[in-house]
Amino acid sequence: MPRPYAYWCKMNQYLIRRLLIAIPTLIGISFVIFAVVNIAPNDPMAQFALNPAVPPEVRENIRHQLGLDQPWPIRYVQWLGAAVQGNLGYSFNSRLPVLTLLSYRLPSTLWVLGMAYIISILLAIPIGILSAVKQYSLIDHLVSAFAFIGFSVPTFFTGVLLILIFSVKLHWLPFIYDSTLVVKDLDSLGQLLKQSAMPIMVLGLFETATLARFIRAAMLENLPLDYVRTARAKGITEYMVIMRHAFRNSMLPVITLIALGVPGVFGGALITEQIFRVPGIGSLLVSSLDTSDIPVIIGITVIYSVLVVLFNLVADILYGFLDPRIKYT
């Protein structure tokens, strides 16, 4: 339905206000992250401790070159100044700009996690609806069992299990992700699908389980309501009752959940990426933590928090679109 001018005006004001509030929030978050990472007792020089080729004065030199000889509050101000201009600093290890490192990693993460997310949404919606409509049926019980397995079995277990089945026993799928693969024909597309199948399955299982449970609950809340009964009384088909009426209304909270999950897609999957050697953001974070590569750790966490703040806003706005009862004031 068309919305009046006043609505858009209010909407704009709301957007601007929310974006302005986001600025101090993000500065606060970045400060806390910076402080925590720098106060933590990890030393980027630790790897050289027993190396006789790296005497203490060389360590001091490296420290100086990395700017670590300054107190962290000063480094924070410098970092913030640069970050505002889009420069997140240089990695200690590879001495490359953090943003460049992230740009290498983002495609793999987006592909694997994005696919897993899309597939799990596509799977969870029919599964969730079905199990709600046929509550306490065999299907519902199966779905519930599947869901509980899905979100209670950790990814490091399912990951290794899949490797044992599909790589070691059956030799169907490779478990080392090759990021140099260029998709140029059907053959290489097949290889890409093969190498990403297992990580997508592992992540998809977990997401599907969570979402399906959620959708089922939302549907169950709506199905007994009066408007559903009214719709049935109008004589429209059961399918239309469920899809047009009950499902649309149940989707409201689900949309929020899905929108809030999107930053996670960019943030990478720590464990799954590590297991399958997917060179994504998650495995970059793990290896940076291992070697105390502070700028990279901070870069990833700060970008992640920007996305979280952003998608919170997106969820709120989407909510307003879907539900006319919600007013922006």
Binding site: D43, A46, S167, H171, W172, F175, R277, S287
Partner: protein, 616 residues
């Protein structure tokens, strides 16, 4: 009704499609793992026979003489990923190994610890006039006609430049320590380099050999000397070696291809055309990839528990062999000679001269002996390390000429108990030994720290168990490696602070000829303490003038055999006085595909030192 059903059908169908896309991928291809490059066209359409391992794809016809680039792709798998391909900014083995494919030294250390000429035409000796009688200069003759991968000539200027690059402090080269003995490097002519050392060297010919001495191209790195080193082409290093870099994705994968200008090409070297150096993951799954699925040809440093690794390697259909390279790495217990009692505040773990106290019970030789006798290092090594470690009595474990035959360390729990009984350490009501020392009742309670590492925690449990049998109580502590080895003077949990009674880690000399640098770690001057900000290597706070005298004598000794004899004496000193308890002599365990020939395990240089000779 019909409409309703068909809609559901659509949903179910889309579900099925999604499952197919997500789960099954494209099952119609065989794993490209072991197929020879010639079969690429065919492999895409061959349907796999379920269950059966893919054909081992061994080269069908016995190859007569392979040409350079005939062996296809070599896939290396490291559980730490490459971050730089500049050998002088290397952050660890994973980086210097990647650099080894590209750049070369004057000479490598071979698998047996003996130098092997690379860029040098021959090894300098006294006989060929290569080094001066006083041991302060050495002349290196370079191979003529060597070219960089960009086609330009390699000359003595490049060697001189590399020395300048590394020794400029602002470059912050991680190899600087190895170059410290070098005073100057001069180009005598295009193919001759003269190296002058600050002090006489017992064997000057080996003072410029190994991982720390890879030669960079002057033309490429000259603009990036000093503080600008971090902006240099560190991921596009040009070299004289068998490979050149195609693409480097730091923290992930580096791909290499054959260097057409490599001097070995006419002799068919390197046989592998491309190399993929993939990093990340963990050691156990690296082993899986090489030994079980064949997804990789070479798995680096498989620190995997024997119980996990052995079945993989010994299986009938294992695709790998395990290569063991015993070097000088020894996992040891360090026994604190000073009192780490927190009650001493600032003076805890400080040497007596700095106001600290001697350790209440570890100062007693009999106690240290009993602690060693309680531990069965052979069982520990077999159970926990398997092929990649053996129990050892010595701290100097290679090369053979340096291994002491004067030490023994048979486990003897009864003997240990008797020793403690005789020394007056009696068991209390709680079964823990105690004794009155200096008017105070001392209970044998040991705080035993190490890094967080699954294997180390098992070793800790093993030792704790052993010590419980002789009435010693052990409290275990583990600290993240990043903290434990941190140089942070404000952090009390570091190995150098040693605010514990016993700690454990592995250390090794960086080459077969630098044992003395390593043995320096127990002289008095090196005692780690507050006044030197805990920056020196003698964590045990052991100080003995007899040991110092041996060390100084060895420094001056220019005769190799006599010097070796002194190093053996120093080993015996450290072992018999129980400065440390050596536990396990660790070897690098590498898994390599069975079809690859020519690999020579090497604990003294990069494992990839002779990659140009690898064939299939």
């Amino acid at each position: 009704m019909f409409v309703r059903q068909s809609k559901w059908l659509v949903i179910v169908a889309s579900l099925a499609v999604a499952v197919l896309v997500g789960a099954c991928g494209a099952p119609a291809t065989t794993a490209p793992a072991t197929s020879a490059p010639a079969t690429t066209a065919a492999q895409a359409t061959t349907a796999p026979t379920t269950g059966a391992p893919p054909a081992a794809a061994s080269p069908t016809a016995a190859p007569v003489a392979k040409k350079a680039g005939d062996c296809g792709t070599l896939r290396l798998l490291y559980w730490q990923a490459v971050t730089t391909v500049n050998p002088h900014l290397s952050q660890g083995t994973k980086d210097s190994d990647a650099a080894t494919l590209v750049v070369e030294p004057l000479a490598y250390f071979g698998g047996d610890g003996k130098p092997v000429a690379a860029l040098a035409a021959e090894l300098p000796t006294k006989a060929n006039g290569g080094f001066s009688a006083d041991g302060t200069t050495v002349i290196w003759k370079l191979k003529p006609g060597v070219k960089w991968s960009d086609g330009s000539d390699f000359t003595a200027d490049d060697v001189v430049f590399t020395w300048k690059y590394v020794s400029t402090k602002e470059t912050a080269a991680t190899t600087l320590g190895s170059w410290e003995a070098v005073k100057t490097v001069e180009a005598v002519d295009k193919n001759t380099v003269k190296v002058t050392f600050t002090d006489p060297q017992p064997d000057p010919s080996v003072a410029m050999v190994g991982t720390s001495f890879r030669i960079l191209q002057k033309k490429q790195f000259e603009p990036f000397i000093g503080a600008k080193s971090k902006d240099g082409p560190n991921l596009a290093t040009i070299g004289t070696g068998p490979y050149k870099i195609v693409e480097a994705k730091p923290n992930d994968v580096v791909t290499f291809t054959m260097n057409e200008n490599y001097r070995g090409v006419p002799q068919g070297k390197p046989c592998f055309k491309d190399v993929i150096d993939k990093g990340g993951g963990d050691a156990p799954s690296s082993a899986k990839a090489v030994c079980q699925t064949g997804d990789a040809d070479f798995g680096w440093n498989l620190q995997v528990e024997a119980a996990v690794l052995n079945p993989m390697v010994q299986a009938a259909d294992a695709k790998c062999t395990l290569a063991i390279a015993p070097g000088g790495a020894v996992e040891r217990l360090l026994l604190n000679r000073t009192n780490p009692d927190p009650a001493l505040g600032d003076k805890r773990s400080e040497p007596v001269e700095a106001g600290g106290q001697p350790h209440p019970f570890l100062s007693d030789l009999k106690v240290r002996q009993a602690l060693r006798m309680a531990i069965d290092t052979t069982t520990m090594a077999t159970q926990l390390y398997g092929a990649s470690g053996v129990g050892t009595c010595n701290i100097v474990t290679a090369p053979p000429a340096l291994i002491s035959k004067n030490t023994s360390c048979k486990p003897d729990v009864d003997g240990a108990n008797k020793l403690l009984d005789d020394a007056g350490w009696v068991k209390g009501a709680d079964g823990i030994r105690h004794k009155t020392v200096g008017g105070k009742d001392v209970r044998m309670h040991i705080l035993y720290q190490t890094t967080v590492n699954a294997l180390r925690q098992k070793e800790q449990a093993f030792v704790k168990d052993a010590w419980a049998k002789i009435g010693v109580e052990t409290e275990l502590k583990s600290t993240s490696g990043g903290v434990f080895f941190s140089g942070d003077e404000a952090n009390p949990d570091t190995a150098a602070h040693f605010y514990a009674d016993v700690e454990m880690f592995t250390n090794n000399p960086d080459s077969p000829v630098t044992w003395l640098n390593y043995m320096e770690g127990w002289i008095c001057k090196e005692v780690s303490q507050k006044s030197n900000k805990w920056s020196t290597g003698n964590y045990e706070r052991f100080c003995n003038k007899d040991y110092d005298a041996l060390y100084n004598q060895a420094l001056k000794e220019t005769d190799q055999a006599k010097r070796d004899a002194i190093i053996v004496q120093m080993n015996d000193f450290v072992v018999n006085d129980l400065v440390i308890i050596p536990l396990v002599a660790r070897a690098d365990a590498e898994a390599i595909n069975k079809s690859i020939k020519g690999y020579i395990p090497n604990p003294w240089d990069s494992e990839l030192w002779n990659v140009a000779d690898w064939t299939k």
